[in-house]
Symmetry: C2
Subunit: 192 residues, 2 copies
Amino acid sequence: MSTSERLIEATQELLWERGYVGTSPKAIQQAAGAGQGSMYHHFAGKPDLALAAVLRTSAEMRETAGRLLDGPGSAYERISAYLLRGREVLRGCPVGRLTMDPEVVASDALRAPVDETIGWLRERLAGILQEGLDAGEFAPGIVPREVAATIVATVQGSYVLARASGSADAFDSAVRGLLSLLAPHVTTDRPA
Amino acid sequence: MSTSERLIEATQELLWERGYVGTSPKAIQQAAGAGQGSMYHHFAGKPDLALAAVLRTSAEMRETAGRLLDGPGSAYERISAYLLRGREVLRGCPVGRLTMDPEVVASDALRAPVDETIGWLRERLAGILQEGLDAGEFAPGIVPREVAATIVATVQGSYVLARASGSADAFDSAVRGLLSLLAPHVTTDRPA
DNA sequence: GTCTATATTCTGATAGAC
DNA sequence: GTCTATCAGAATATAGAC
């Protein structure tokens, strides 16, 4: 693999693990097995390299989520497949994590791919919710764009619960709770 | 106010804004209007001062949330009041934010108050959900501890959506979506 | 309790040789 | 393309005077 590739991948890993503020050029070089001169030859500096890494991570995330959301099954089944997919829960979300970084949020260039990825996911979920609504799978009162935001938020927040407790259990609980709220269900308050 | 107090409060603000990794002793001293000698007289170092700040922030969060959850109204109304309370959405959650910090998660001392606060909130919500369940307010199938995790996760994740987009709107959407899923509702699929 | 001086290591680069 | 200096400033303290 090229040095440039190794630098980008090392940066992706470090941004995921330590965020932008916590990642130094030196740490990137060591992880990539590249010298300083090499890094500054291929990239203008830390912001430039971080942007390349964030763009890559964002694209990979869309790829992964897209595959599950475009899969077979009912709307509920596809959303369920997305929620239950294997994740490295204790590492957090490589995209969502960046929103807690002050320097990422302060930079339009760095924030844009994060915003676009999350926005894309939300719209994709909203579309599926609408399909399910049309098919009578969900409670008729729900607003697709709002519930889509709830789904994305639950995933993002579940990482917070898991990392706080040091265990993936909380992530799974929150997802199960969401699926139970979303599930096609028959209420018991039938008219007598 | 005492120098020690000013140091703690300045640290609370900086941890909220920039996290542990992004906060330097120097920045704390400047924000508190205290010299280096002063800071190291009152606290052993950055980890010690951060711990004092995190304990303070955690206690304040429990105070705020507790007041709303102990308020008047039905279970749904109290949960709704908690979800809809005024927040500085774009600043993120001062407690949850810490879970994305590698040094906080790596330190048992720093992570403990975060874990306890989130755990306390979840249990408190689970209790209220159980009350509501007993009163017939919610769909009978829900599991209080799971849905409580979903509620906490939605709040935490809603901050992510808001910060990604640079607007508080996404936070409100996700919360409305959750409330609509949680709401006592009558399904249309009544037996004919 | 607070201040200034000093120390070591890291950060984020630039310069120029190979 | 990669390497080795070199550098100004920040991070995280310690020491000792006041």
